[in-house]
């Protein structure tokens, strides 16, 4: 008789040894409790705009229920190419340099699997989205974390990248605006990083899923920098800007060789992204700009609300320039990230995600999503204020001169 332990021994050790996501444990805890206001959600609180949903319904009525080409609908690729050209002045050939994927998640996996040889190192700024390191490991690579700090506003600096490079370094992964910190990189910051990438012949995988949600200044697209287009795989999608998380549609843009390699994996493992989602994405690009801008404007207003609330509470929080997260420092409560999140949940029924779930540099912080209604935000902050006062946080008087 084979017992459970024996079965687990049959699992690929790489997969078996990947620790469960820190978010998972917390998720299980939150679902047990009733009446929780959650600011722990990594997706827009808007439902996909009606014209996009309606566009998808229409496509179903017309019978668009078949496979598309492996690379995705050419019309959609052309629309994406146009959008990238208009927004960032980068030109991609829709036929050879673009691939439609099942969300950015798939695009990331494809890029890793297409590029990584066993033992290759991937530089990942940290705190970061929870998938990057596991994706690297499952592709046979070695994740090398680069800590970012609140002193640098959680931006990645060229000297830190330089210091982490070894002869095995092959890829630098970037995600700005950043989840979980909300940090953005200026053009100047990115130019310095680009120089390092060129000098050490690194490939940059740039996950720019939050690009449209940039409030401070303008987003700079990595591939728009001099000499960077060919060595950058640009990942983006529709989830955040058009509130389309559940549709699972994203894309990768890169040089024709990389895209061909990624398409090879995609065609044998995924075949194509669902046509209904691709049709909806096309509608989003054609007619969604105004609606998207309105959503961004609302996020920005809430961002101000959130910043002010943390200030009033006495929790220091650097100003997030993008995405829909704030990343306040909670060490003044004397609690660890995990303890803070857990006790806030138990005592005040507000759910946040402990910063440590995104890597060791996230310790001492929590991720607070402001993709929530203003009413929920206001009530959550009232409860949080009560909570931090109980833990002895005092509001420092700020003297403006």
């Amino acid at each position: 008789m084979i017992n459970k332990k024996d079965w687990s021994e049959m699992i690929n050790p790489t997969v078996r040894d990947i620790p469960p996501s820190g978010i998972r444990r917390f998720f299980d805890m939150v679902t047990e409790i009733k009446g929780v206001i959650s600011l722990g959600v990594g997706e827009p609180d808007f439902v996909t705009p009606w014209h996009i949903r309606e566009g998808c319904i229409y496509s179903l009525e017309k019978g668009y229920t078949m496979y598309t080409s492996n690379q995705g609908l050419l019309e959609l690729r052309e629309a994406i190419a146009r959008d990238l050209d208009v927004t960032y002045g980068v030109t991609y050939d829709a036929r050879r340099e673009l691939l439609i994927t099942v969300g950015v998640s798939e695009a990331l996996d494809l890029a890793m699997r297409a590029l990584i040889c066993p033992g290759d190192e991937v530089l990942i700024p940290e705190p970061s989205y929870v998938s990057y390191a596991p994706c690297t490991m499952m592709a046979g690579g070695v994740p090398v974390h680069i800590a970012t700090t609140v002193e640098d506003s959680f931006r990645l600096t060229a000297d830190r990248v330089e210091a982490a490079i070894t002869p095995r370094t092959k890829i630098l992964l970037l995600c700005y605006p950043n989840n979980p910190t909300g940090a953005v990189m200026t053009r100047r910051d990115l130019l310095a990083i680009a120089e390092v990438a060129r000098k050490h012949n690194l490939i940059v995988i740039s996950d720019e899923i939050y690009d449209k949600l940039t409030y401070a200044g303008e987003h700079t697209c990595m591939s728009s920098l001099p000499g960077m287009q060919d060595r950058t795989i640009l990942l983006n999608g529709f989830s955040k800007a058009y509130a389309m998380t559940g549709w699972r549609v994203g894309y990768a843009a890169g040089n024709a060789d990389f895209i061909a390699a990624m398409t090879k994996i995609h065609q044998y493992t995924m075949l194509c992204a669902p046509i209904t989602a691709q049709m909806a994405a096309l509608e989003a690009l054609r007619n969604g700009r105004e609606g998207m801008k309105r959503m961004v404007q609302q996020y920005n207003r809430r961002r101000h609300l959130v910043m002010q609330s943390f200030r009033d509470m006495g929790l220091p929080c650097f100003e997030p320039g993008g995405a829909f997260y704030a990343f306040p420092e909670i060490s003044a409560t004397g609690l660890s990230s995990d303890e803070f999140a857990e006790r806030l949940l138990m005592e005040e029924k507000v759910a946040l995600v402990p910063g440590s779930a995104f890597g060791p540099s996230g310790e001492g912080f929590v991720r607070c999503s402001y993709a929530a209604s203003e009413d929920d935000l206001t009530e959550a902050f009232r409860r949080m204020d009560r909570f931090v006062k109980r833990y002895g946080v005092k509001v420092k008087t700020v003297v403006n001169l």
Binding site: F26, F27, E43, S131, R301
Partner: protein
């Protein structure tokens, strides 16, 4: 200014403090602009959208197409004014198309509304004809869906 109006149009109860924070402005400045907009009648009134049905209040409303004879110099304005002065008239608009004025009437009973149309509205000089449509159900008003059951279906925690 437009941004302040957008916020207030969605929620008249929003405080000056909240507006100031959300738009990254000074409270004093917000207060001043709102006052100016009130004085210059950009902001006409703060009203509350009520679902009277839930209170058990019976109300009957009707939409009336009114054809009129426009008059020299004032066009439709003077006949429109004679119509909109009645408190029963909730809204009155000049329309393009096959009739001239679109008038919304609210009353307690069907009889009251019909009576008003027959004795008051139709008899006004310059009114040529009226067509009355009673409202059976309101689904959406002023951008608000009356029975909105779209709830938050997101996972409570996601990366």
């Amino acid at each position: 200014m437009k941004e302040i109006l957008e916020l207030m149009e969605l929620n008249a109860k929003i405080t000056e403090q909240e507006i100031a924070i959300m738009l990254d402005m000074e409270v004093e400045e917000v207060r001043k602009i709102i006052k100016e907009m009130e004085d210059s009648k950009i902001i006409l009134r703060y009203i509350t959208l009520v679902n009277w049905e839930k209170v058990g209040e019976e109300k009957v409303s009707a939409f009336i197409e009114v054809r009129t004879t426009p008059q020299r110099d004032v066009g439709f304005d003077s006949v429109a004014e004679r119509i909109y002065r009645f408190p029963e008239v909730r809204s009155a608009r000049l329309m393009s198309g096959t009739y001239d004025l679109a008038v919304f009437i609210e009353g307690r009973t069907m009889r009251e509304v019909s009576n008003f149309v027959a004795t008051k509205l139709a008899t006004i000089e310059g009114v040529v004809s009226t067509t009355t449509h009673f409202v059976l159900k309101t689904y959406k008003q002023d951008g608000v869906i009356i029975e909105d059951d779209e709830e938050d279906r997101r996972l409570v925690i996601s990366p």
